[in-house]
């Protein structure tokens, strides 16, 4: 694991056990979770539903206490009010005060975050603009869609100009355009020197914007590191697209690859290694056909994630 200098979040052997259900059975939500998040990073916290993501986040924002271990934010206990003043938080599927308008809610959030009175109006307006909610600023939030609530949610998280932003499933309920805008906002926060810690079960979001990723499964951090470290550069397979094949050669090629997909005139053949590519090229030359593309397929985060989840789930 890479050593993080100047950590913003630092946990040591963090465990959380709670009682649940009939008979108050003990459930371990977190087991010996140790990791650091450095200043200015976008840290993606990845795990399937029920893996312990929200339990960890609740400890990091001081809503819950760890059963064992320690969680430090800016070098102090997470429950410390001085720490909270430097942290912005967006809960999962946020539900806000539906009787308030978006503007009233952001003003309330600014008041609680300790924003000076003279700066509140300007801050609220610029945030409404950032999340594209100016048009609904004066509307009570009871009529808001999930995506609109999510937008107001990120605005309230940023209202105190926090150094660390913790987002629990921030992309939930957003359409593709909204997700793109959210990714831009998150990258923009890093560009301002802020640290972003966000949980998700959507791999594409993590792959696109995170500097480092932690994978949590059944309460244990099973992998943590830069995306490059987690996803080795080893090529898993090659995808060769061939056009201009006649019937006979097409059948031969289909047998050479691990799999073959026809699409109009083109045939996409997947072969496991260089030797496979050579065999395909030889047949193409013989057939007088043409190679349109050779794409090496690397291990994706999804492959990696599935390998872990497949192995650990229900274990």
């Amino acid at each position: 694991m890479a050593v993080v200098t100047d950590p913003v979040i630092s946990t040591v052997k963090l465990s959380k056990v709670y009682r649940s259900g009939i008979g108050m059975r003990l459930v371990s939500a977190l087991v010996d979770v140790t990791f650091d998040v450095g200043r200015g990073e976008i840290f993606g916290f990845l795990g399937p539903n029920g893996a312990g993501k929200t339990s960890l986040i609740k400890i990091l924002i001081g809503l819950a206490r760890p059963t064992a271990g320690n969680a430090l934010v800016f070098g102090r206990q997470a429950r410390d009010a001085q720490v909270k003043a430097r942290v912005g938080f967006l809960p999962e599927s946020p539900y806000f005060y539906e009787y308030l308008t978006a503007t009233e809610f952001l003003r309330l959030s600014a008041g609680l975050a300790g924003v000076p009175g003279s700066e509140v109006a300007g801050r609220v307006n610029s945030l409404l603009k950032l999340v594209r909610m100016e048009a609904s600023a004066g509307v009570q939030m009871r009529g808001f869609s999930r995506g609109m609530l999510q937008r107001i949610g990120i605005a309230q998280a940023l209202v105190g100009d926090p150094e660390l932003v913790i987002l629990d499933e921030p992309m939930g309920g957003l359409d593709p355009v909204g997700r793109k805008e959210f990714r831009d906002i998150i990258v923009g926060l890093r560009d301002q020197g802020k640290t972003v810690f966000f949980s998700t079960h959507i791999l594409a979001d993590v792959e696109m914007i995170c500097d480092r990723v932690g994978i949590i499964i059944n309460g244990r951090m099973v992998n943590i590191g830069g995306l490059g470290d987690i996803l080795s550069d080893d090529v898993q397979a090659y995808e060769v697209t061939v056009t201009g094949l006649t019937g006979k050669f097409r059948k031969v090629l289909e047998r050479v690859g691990d799999s073959a997909i026809r699409s109009g005139d083109a045939l996409l053949v997947t072969v496991p290694d260089d030797a496979g590519v050579d065999r395909v090229m030889a047949i193409v030359r013989e057939a007088g056909a043409r190679v349109q593309a050779i794409v090496p397929r690397k291990r994706t985060l999804e492959d990696h994630f599935m390998a872990h989840v497949g192995g650990k789930r229900g274990a």
């Binding site: 809503l63 819950a64 909270k84 809960p91 609680l112």
Partner: protein, 255 residues
């Protein structure tokens, strides 16, 4: 600190005044006071006393309903709807949250008292009832009674559901008006169990009959300023204790 308590109080105030329960109660209270006009002919020669007593009782009853029904779900609702997450993720201390919620509901009750009192004096004016300012003493004492009741509702709201909280608070309200009888029961009962239980209840539950001076003001009886001051001091101390216990319970909670 004061900024955060004020922000939470303002939010609580907005929540209550935009709540259908609150508006319904307010409208109902004014209707009841207006009904004085209907019963006026029935009160042989005692019209003014009946109208005054009815008005003061209606104001007290509806304010008690607001305190109990809205107060009973004040904290629980934030936990249930998970709005508590964004509150407590802020640099808000747990006691500031409790105090803010309490102050917000007390502001709602103060506003309700003012609105209902204006309605009450209007009814007296229309019915030609002598509207003495002396009656306001009774409403002042009602306000301090509400201070205790709201703190009771908040205390219950930190650990039981809104319905249970409202039921318990109502129970405290009713028994609180009978504490003198509890003491009598303790003295008279032959059973040692009944003696102990009624003694304990007598000392633990608030003595709310101290705050009922409706009879005195309606019948122009001279009030005892010392007794009133003592009752107000008692209300402040009792309320502070309840809020302290609420904070202790609330501080131990994980969300």
């Amino acid at each position: 600190m004061t900024g955060r308590v004020a922000s939470i109080a303002l939010n609580t105030f907005r929540e209550a005044i935009r709540d259908k329960v609150f508006l319904t109660l307010l409208v109902f209270a004014i209707l009841v006071m207006g009904s004085a006009r209907v019963i006026q002919p029935l009160a042989l020669g005692e019209e003014s006393k009946v109208i005054q007593d009815l008005g003061l009782s209606a104001i007290t009853l509806f304010c008690v309903l607001i305190a109990v029904l809205i107060g009973g779900r004040l904290v629980y609702k934030e936990v249930e709807k998970r709005t508590i997450y964004i509150m407590l993720a802020r640099p808000v201390r747990r006691w500031e949250f409790i105090l803010g919620k309490y102050a917000g509901l007390m502001a709602v009750l103060a506003a309700s008292l003012v609105v209902m009192t204006v309605g009450f004096y209007l009814v007296m004016f229309i019915t030609g009832t002598p509207a003495s300012a002396y009656l306001l003493w009774s409403l002042l004492m009602t306000f301090f009674e509400l201070a205790i009741l709201t703190a009771t509702a908040i205390l219950f709201s930190t650990f039981v559901t809104p319905i249970a909280s409202s039921v318990f608070t109502f129970a405290v309200y009713f028994v609180g008006h009978l504490t003198r009888d509890l003491r009598l029961l303790a003295a008279m009962s032959p059973s040692p169990v009944v003696k102990v239980v009624s003694q304990v209840l007598y000392y633990v539950l608030p003595n709310l009959s101290n705050f009922n001076i409706r009879g005195e003001v309606v019948h122009d009886v001279v009030l005892n300023p010392e007794a009133l001051a003592l009752a107000i001091g008692y209300a402040l101390l009792y309320t502070a204790t309840l809020l302290l216990i609420s904070t202790l319970i609330f501080s131990r909670k994980d969300f």
